[in-house]
Symmetry: C2
Subunit: 315 residues, 2 copies
């Protein structure tokens, strides 16, 4: 008898859903819109209806489903309570497994979406085979998810792994989204890289491919690959901030591996080449064995990790 699990990743615009077999293979994935109206009251009923419809479509009986995992955009404690609600969904404080489990009549586990994505990369992605892992997501911001001995490090208030807000620069004058100044995410995110590039471009008139089009993180790394001197300086600055930041992280949680994902990571292995040597220079000697890998699951990391909350102990 084959077993299944559902992985559910609730975002502000769409809910991603995935059906997995017990070996952790993604059998099918689909999306539904996130119904944020009226405090998001329809979101979980919509999710439940979609899951139950999929079971009917595939003639999967309840007994063959191990459960459903959920990633939610907010702090979630070990019992699945959304401790501060989820402002992007209009949700207040409640227990996700209780509500969705009631609708689905199956075991439900929930965790923060960034942490769930980290869990997914550990289970079936770039960190497969490791159980002490730090996942770093370089997108609009810098997100982090930490796995210790195979378990998500949630932290006291769900802020475990908020490495994008480590203070790494005393001289910063611009303010981060979190209202502090000098956060890692001001230098190592997609927007941070653009800021570093624009600052560098304004310094002098040195020729650069970056003067020709829109400055984006992708344009910076494309120019690096083309040998552009100015872009290389920007990449070095980015690597200096991120490598030093991860060296600090290693002194705290001493992971086996860093898995780097998010839009910026599409630059590929060249990105790691700017980060890893800086990391090695600044971290504690006992932490130098940490490996660096690129994330492999992309936007599916959330549904993988959510299903993994249910299936991993069984795999």
């Amino acid at each position: 008898m084959s077993k299944y699990a559902f992985g559910i990743d609730i975002g502000g615009t769409t809910v991603k859903l995935g059906l997995f077999d017990e070996q952790g293979q993604l059998l099918e994935k689909w999306e539904i819109p996130t119904a944020k109206e009226h405090g998001g009251e329809a979101i979980l009923p919509d999710v439940a209806a979609s899951v139950l419809a999929k079971m009917e479509e595939r003639a999967i009986v309840r007994e063959d489903v191990a459960g459903a995992g959920v990633g939610a955009p907010g702090a979630v404690d070990a019992e699945g309570n959304l401790v501060n609600g989820a402002v992007n969904l209009g949700w207040g404080v409640f227990n996700i497994p209780e509500v969705l489990g009631g609708l689905l009549n199956m075991p439900v586990k929930a965790a923060n979406d960034a942490n769930v994505a980290a869990f997914g990369e550990m289970w079936q992605g770039g960190g497969k085979g490791y159980d002490n892992l730090v996942a770093v997501t370089l997108g609009t911001g810098v997100g982090g998810g930490i796995i210790v001995d195979g378990k998500i490090l949630t932290g006291a208030t769900g802020a475990g792994g908020e490495i994008g807000h480590m203070h790494v620069e005393d001289e910063e004058t611009e303010v981060c989204g979190c209202k502090n100044q000098g956060c890692l995410e001001q230098y190592a995110s997609a927007t941070g890289i653009v800021r570093l590039a624009n600052r560098r471009l304004a310094q002098d008139n040195k020729a650069s491919l970056l003067r020709e089009g829109k400055v984006t993180a992708k344009a910076v790394f494309d120019a690096v690959k083309a040998g552009d001197g100015l872009a290389i300086q920007v990449a070095e600055q980015f690597g200096e901030y991120l490598g030093k930041g991860l060296a600090l992280v290693a002194c705290v949680v001493n992971p086996q591996i860093f898995v780097i994902g998010g839009g910026v990571s599409k630059a590929g292995e060249i990105l790691l080449s700017y980060v890893e040597p800086v990391f090695q220079k600044y971290t504690f000697n006992a932490c130098r064995g940490a490996r660096f890998a690129l994330a492999t699951l992309g936007n599916d990391a959330g549904i993988y990790g959510a299903a993994g909350l249910i299936l991993r102990e069984e795999v």
Copy 2:
């Protein structure tokens, strides 16, 4: 039927032992010398003999002993393997529970001594009532021990919580014991505070109590209490480094509480007054609820934590 456990803290000079009841009360503590000769081969037999003699002395039968916990000065993995040996004891790589458990005929658990001390402060000390905790030991160096959801964070190579070696200063020219430059322990340890004070004293001829005797961390904080302006500058600098460093730690593991111990912490609450405001300024807003407390178990933290490895789940 009352139950007992032994807590054993193996140091380079002495082994501290403690007999605890199942409520975690320390009934008796004593020490034996650490026999480091011949690769430390007699250390565990000596420990076993001392434990068995204590049981005989008190007429405690084997059935009433839940087990013995051990803190060892080296990296210890989750199974109790001393993964790199213990250079201070002359020990190579072996499994502590296997060897000592064989000698004692009882369950034995082992962990790194700094982590065990952190566990002790959580179980019966300054962090009692919390299970997400960072213990910071300000002694000759800066040690750390991290507890996540009631469990020691060991890390991939036993370097979890090595926060003394976080790189926090780019301008440093002196070299840390770990061979890096700009480690937190170069500013926040007892020796680090002396260095900061000596540097400040050399800057100019400003009057200070610190010019009158030997400059120690204790002398600095005594002078702070006496209102000495120069000493206050040194304390502010210390607080800036440590507060910022712990702000970084909070963005990674998001603890409920920081418990500050070690010789420097004998300065008392005034020490926290230099650290906590800096922490609050630099950490991520979701981490600002973290409390600060002084360690309360002193040199007994190790035997408490070691016994706690055995007893805590039963308390």
